[in-house]
Amino acid sequence: MENNNLREQILFTANADPKKCMKCGKCSGACPNYDEMEYHPHQFVSMVQNGDIEPLLKSESLYLCLTCMVCVERCPRNVQPARFIEAVRLAKIRQQGENRLTPQQIPAKIEEDTPQQLLVSAFRKYTK
Amino acid sequence: MQVKNENWKPLIVAFCCNWCSYAGADLAGTNRLNYPADVKIIRVPCSCRVNPMFILRAFQRGADGVIVCGCHPGDCHYTSGNYYARRRMTLLFSMLDYLGIEKGRTRVEWVSAAEGQKFAETMNSFVETITSLGENKRLEDLRCKTE
């Protein structure tokens, strides 16, 4: 039941329909960061659809999606896999204590030419 | 003032084109999709056969709602009939509205031969609308009704 609620929440956040997926795998064929990821775009779609969300929440893959939107762009069925990944990521980092990145970590990561944009985007993606 | 009729049930006339909507109604029947018995269907070859006179006549004789169903625009069996019907009905509805007749007493819906479900849903929702609007008082001919 609880899992079902989580699934509904994720589907709402994602605002996309996993049932449209025809399992062609083009999203995962197009994904530029596939090899770094444990779960891949098509698996996010399918696992959210099946309510199999726990493994996704635990996976590093959440932080490896670059939101480059090629999966959205090239999907023949307009499934928008990136939205599912984002929704699961939000479900994770919105929980207390699940921030991936803290301000304390930043000074060590700054280089001479690190653009502000990198810090802002990373915070948006990894922290709530 | 007339006393509100407790036993009132809406009377609805549906004009259905032979090729799409009448077939859609048949399909609703074949699939046993319920809609209220208040709906009575009149078969016409095409929605463009529906003369505004027919609709006014139905109201005159005591109908509470009239719905015209035809093929979806672009799918008319006669290629363009429903496009003409669309303009005529738009203008007629506008005139009825202008004369102060309640919005919603008339409707046009495009139902294909494959849309039995849609036909039943349309009729259900139309009956609901008419039920909430209540008896047609503004267009009826009382002389006809009391017969």
Binding site: K20, G25, P76 | T30, P45, C46, C48, F54, Y78, Y84
Partner: protein, 664 residues
Amino acid sequence: MQRIGVFVCWCGSNIAGTVDVKKVAETLGHEPGVVFSTDYQYMCSQSGQDLVKDSIRTYNLTGVVICSCSPRMHENTFRKAAASVGLNPYMVEIANIREQVSWIHKDMETATEKAIILGRAAIAKVHLNAPLIAGETPVTKRALVIGGGIAGIQTALDIAEAGFEVDIVEKSPTIGGKMAQIDKTFPTLDCAACILTPKMVEASQQENINIYAFSEVDEVKGFVGNFTVKIRRKARYVKEELCTGCGLCTEKCPQKKVPDEFNLGLSNRRAIYIPFAQAVPKVATIDPNYCTMLKTGKCGVCSKVCGVKAIDYTQKDEIVERKYGAIVVATGFEPIKVDKFEEFAYAQSPDVVTSLEYERLMNAAGPTGGTLLRPSDKTHPHTIVFVQCVGSRCDEKSEKGKPYCSKVCCMYTAKHAMLTREKYPDTEVYVFYIDVRTPGKNFDEFYRRAVEHYGVHYVKGMVGKVTPENGKLKVQASDLLDNRQLHIDADMVVLAAAIEPDKSARPLATMLTASMDTNDFFTEAHPKLRPVESPTAGVFLSGMCQGPKDIPETVSQASACAAKVIGLLVKDKLVGNPCVAHSDEMMCNGCSQCQNVCPYGAITYTEKEFRMPDRTTAVRRVAQVNPAVCQGCGACTVTCPSGAMDLFGFSNNQIMAEVDAICK
């Protein structure tokens, strides 16, 4: 006053289970004009029909109301029964108490009440019915086939063999269509040319067939049995009747850099050309976009070398007008343009080709003489990646692709993969698929052979990106079953582009007033029961113009289509639908509004002399309906302000009587 008989059908328990049929028959029996009323278990059965017939005779019925299933089901049955005992069939009306009553209502009282009301409406209508007699029109015993591909050729041959004349109109210089470009055919792998070209020759030699190649349909008028068609014979700048097809001109033409359509631009042809060796008619054509003589007035080489003086630079398009009884649409298909799918780098690398281009690269008469060479550097490819479903099965709202399955790609891709592996066993062949769809005789066996016997790598997944780099095509794709991303350095990538109807189909459909679906495929009169006819009478469908299909299916549909055409042409006269519009000349204003809304051009005007009440005569303009052309939609009747225009079978009076009966 009519003498009406009412017949209430039980339809077993289908109606009687919910409707009190006895009560319906009893109640309707008291309606004015009803002289006989009864119920019966199965009115459509032989004995049920006999009951109707006997009653018509016994009670001298002038009208019949059947309370039964939908008129779409058995109206004809009962009309025929009535006609068999001398009652005009149009005196029969049906009250639909099954689909509209018993099947949708559960409560017996409500259902019975509604059945009675519908029965009353039908009785009210019959009171105003009049006997109708269908008109007859003669049939022009010649057929037009639009499109000279395998579908058109087969239909034409079958019609011609039944003894009717057929004209084929083909827009390109030769008949043969897409099949002529194909190398081998699945699943038997016989060569397309070997089975197609004999049919092309047969078509050209069949006495009853006349081929208008390099021609297009400009205008269609008329109706079933009586079409008049204007055909534009485009200027070839070569006299077709003189040209022997020797080909000398095509060798001597100095303009050598014209992309060859037949080879899909993979090779060049001359400005004067014969598309391929077995072209029918084998006649040269000058391409005015490239011919130096036509463009600048200087050259004339072809004219000089032509031994029979067939070249005519002054030739103009010519319009021929012909009459036909039936028209067959066989306009076929095209592969979609893949420019919206540039992730596959089609525009970036010549080594990314479409499947039809691959056919040409494999073909012995193709640009490489049948040796498989990469278009970029003419070397032998060692790794080939096939991508299925490029532009097929897309989201309905997609702006890039089509929502349907193109049906033939799975099989031709299996064929390409198999042939490639057979000819060049050193080549690695990958096929990326979503599903392999092989319903068809010997189809799945064929596909399995490609995998099991020829070792084609079938990968469940999709290519996501092709990156041309250093002479290779870096293919990035998913392998869903292994859950990994593949990176293949390929030499060629072959795209199974979705198919779509030929561009000429839509304007043609408008000319024919034939309907199309949202994908521009022609719609059938009935998707299951009348699949080779268009809803427009006299227009028939053959081949891919109706939907994706392979060659065997196309040929069977083509022959089925021919059978339907023959069935029409064999008739001397056509019996029309008598439920047509008619104009009361006494009331007609002659205002032309009905003519403006008639989709069939069935209404004409004539000046008629009328005697006025004051004994003078006046000439008035009045409408006349051609009953053979009118299809009975009724658009005119509502446009007519005076009510002069009315529709037989659905007259203003009849419909209003039904309204009254329902609203009583």
